[in-house]
């Protein structure tokens, strides 16, 4: 609960609590749109994934994509919702160019899911955030401003892409809780395979409903809705900014106006999206073109049975079954693709802790460097397991392993074959090792002297020289042993 004392000058004012609810739109990863067979792929040339239905042509009619219902049910069940087994679609009427029919087909009266929850781990323990309802609806097209003509251009590719809207109860009290909630939704949707759910790409969009009230007040304040929040950072800033703005109004004796505000993260401020031409009355009524949906117990049961292991459970299991730390388990399960790769690598024979190290270590490092993500990894689990085995069996040393991994990361080479081909095996001939160490020691009497005096740090230098001489193919522990042995003689 963010109840920082609001200060104005030297006067200490009342304590205010922030009350936050979220409306999150999630783009579903179906192949086709909700009411027609056009592709949902992102990035196509404008108005090329369109048809009479998603462009509101006269005489067009919607046909419901079954996969949308399936995905909505998966999401609802994973978020602990009740299912409205009889549900239907309603028309939400309003005029805007990105809305080809000037009504959006959505669900008001009987949304598909209701009364669910998400559990967050806060400093004060587990906190439940209620989900008021989840409903299916269609996305609108895209509007782009055209400088030349000072007009707007409309592209209907996105019109009709299926969305679920997840409406929370106003149970959150801080930006932290909001971010945690969103991350939970994100990972759940990704694990279910229902959506990529990425803020930056627009496959997840969050509108923040925020009000403030004096701590202890039983009544909610007037809330505002904030849009255009394109990153977690923007969300956090917007929450802070709006909280301050509302408190300032109240402290000044003015009222908070219920309105929609657009957040500008560059300016770190918001302005009201007011238009007297906006009819606030959507005149919802049941869509006569779409028969209602009757969801059977059997359908629900089959979805429940097929629900994959979600992040929290998976992370716990990694800790209990594989002895991973909570930190590592959370990193691995933070990305479904990474978790899957981890599990496949174990299946291919690698020890869990080793696999975890490679994935949370080198893999993430390279991904970050290349600004890529786990789902785009090209090397196979089998190859990673093989690399780990080579290291385990001391065929190669750590540094070599890293080098080979870097190649494997780019081109998915078979590490065993690569090591063989490039003669990267660790040198096993102890005679050659002794000879080389002797040579290096002879060439570095000062270092040897320091070592004899107990300055162990210099061993690194000596080992480095040996390694260089042996073209990196020595076994570091053997080198160290040999140096110590020969120095003592």
């Amino acid at each position: 609960m963010d109840t920082s004392i609001c200060q104005k000058g030297d006067l200490i004012m009342k304590q205010y609590e922030t009350v936050i609810g979220l409306e999150v739109h999630v783009e579903l990863a179906t192949k086709t749109k909700i009411f027609c067979g056009c592709k949902t792929d992102f990035g196509a040339a404008p108005n090329t994934h369109v048809c009479p239905i998603c462009t509101g042509m006269p005489g067009s009619l919607p046909i419901l994509n079954k996969q949308v219902v399936e995905f909505a049910l998966r999401a609802g069940l994973a978020l602990n919702c009740q299912i409205n087994q009889f549900c239907k679609f309603d028309r939400k009427n309003y005029f805007y160019p990105d809305n080809p029919q000037n009504y959006q087909i959505s669900q008001l009266y009987l949304p598909i899911c209701h009364d669910g929850y998400v559990e967050l781990e806060t400093a004060a323990g587990t906190k439940r955030i209620g989900i008021h309802e989840i409903h299916m609806e269609e996305d609108a097209g895209k509007l782009v401003h055209d400088e030349w003509t000072d007009s707007s251009l409309v592209d209907y590719n996105r019109s009709g892409v299926p969305l679920i809207e997840i409406v929370s109860e106003p149970d959150m009290r801080s930006a932290d809780e909001v971010i945690q909630y969103l991350e939970h939704l994100q990972s759940t949707m990704q694990y279910l395979g229902v959506s990529d759910c990425r803020l930056q790409e627009g496959s997840m969009r969050a509108d923040v409903n925020l009000s403030v009230r004096e701590v202890g007040s039983p009544v909610f304040g007037t809330r505002t809705e904030m849009k255009n929040l394109n990153s977690f950072k923007a969300i956090a800033h917007a929450i802070e900014g709006e909280r301050e703005r509302q408190i300032e109004l109240l402290e000044d004796g003015r009222a908070v106006v219920q309105e929609t505000r657009r957040w500008d993260d560059n300016k770190e401020s918001s302005h009201a999206m007011r238009s007297k031409e906006d009819a606030k009355d959507y005149r919802y009524f049941p869509d006569p073109d779409l028969p209602p949906i009757d969801i059977s117990d059997a359908w629900i049961a089959s979805i429940r049975a097929a629900q994959p292991e979600l992040k929290k459970a998976k992370s716990r299991r990694y800790q209990s079954e594989y002895g991973l730390s909570a930190y590592d388990a959370d990193i691995l399960t933070g990305d479904k693709a990474l978790a899957e790769l981890f599990e496949s690598t174990i299946k291919a024979g690698a020890a869990p802790k080793k696999a975890a190290n490679w994935l949370t270590g080198e893999t993430l490092r390279l991904l970050k460097e290349k600004e890529s993500e786990a789902s785009k990894i090209t090397f196979t689990a089998e190859h990673l397991a093989s690399l780990i085995a080579l290291l385990e069996k001391s065929v190669i040393n750590n540094q070599t392993a890293k080098d080979v991994f870097a190649v494997m990361f780019e081109t998915d080479v078979d590490p065993a074959a690569y090591v063989e081909e490039h003669g990267l095996k660790m040198e096993s001939d102890s005679g050659l090792l002794e000879e080389t160490v002797k040579k290096i020691l002879d060439a570095n009497p000062k270092a040897v002297g320091e070592l004899k005096e107990g300055k162990d740090k210099v061993i690194g230098f000596l080992m480095g020289q040996v390694m260089k001489e042996m073209k990196g193919k020595a076994n570091p522990s053997q080198v160290s042993e040999m140096i110590h042995k020969l120095v003592q003689e």
Binding site: N47, H49, K66, S151
Partner: protein, 97 residues
């Protein structure tokens, strides 16, 4: 008794329906609407307290299609009837927000 249709009601209806009426038209429409509503008011003579609204005539449900890609419309076809277009998109007056 039916609702009283005032000038304010007419203003709101103009915004909802996106119609522009002259003063004369507005008054005529106001009268028409009032007349209609007074007439429609007779529905209240019927007791419907136990009746479910009939939205769909037949109890059809679960009409679905499979998630399979179908052919889209070629863009030139789509834009043939466009009042104004540019760069393959429909051109409209500037929108806010």
């Amino acid at each position: 008794m039916a609702e009283m249709i005032t000038d304010k009601t007419m203003d709101e209806i103009e915004i909802l329906a996106k119609l522009h009426l002259t003063e004369e038209e507005k008054e005529k429409s106001r009268q028409d609407l009032q007349q209609m509503l007074d007439y429609v008011d007779m529905l209240n003579q019927l007791d419907t307290s136990d009746v479910e609204p009939l939205t769909h005539i037949f109890p059809i449900k679960n009409v679905f299609r499979e998630d399979v890609v179908l052919e889209s419309t070629p863009r030139e076809e789509l834009l043939k009837n466009a009042p104004k277009e540019k760069d393959g998109q429909f051109l409209v007056p500037k929108t806010i927000g």
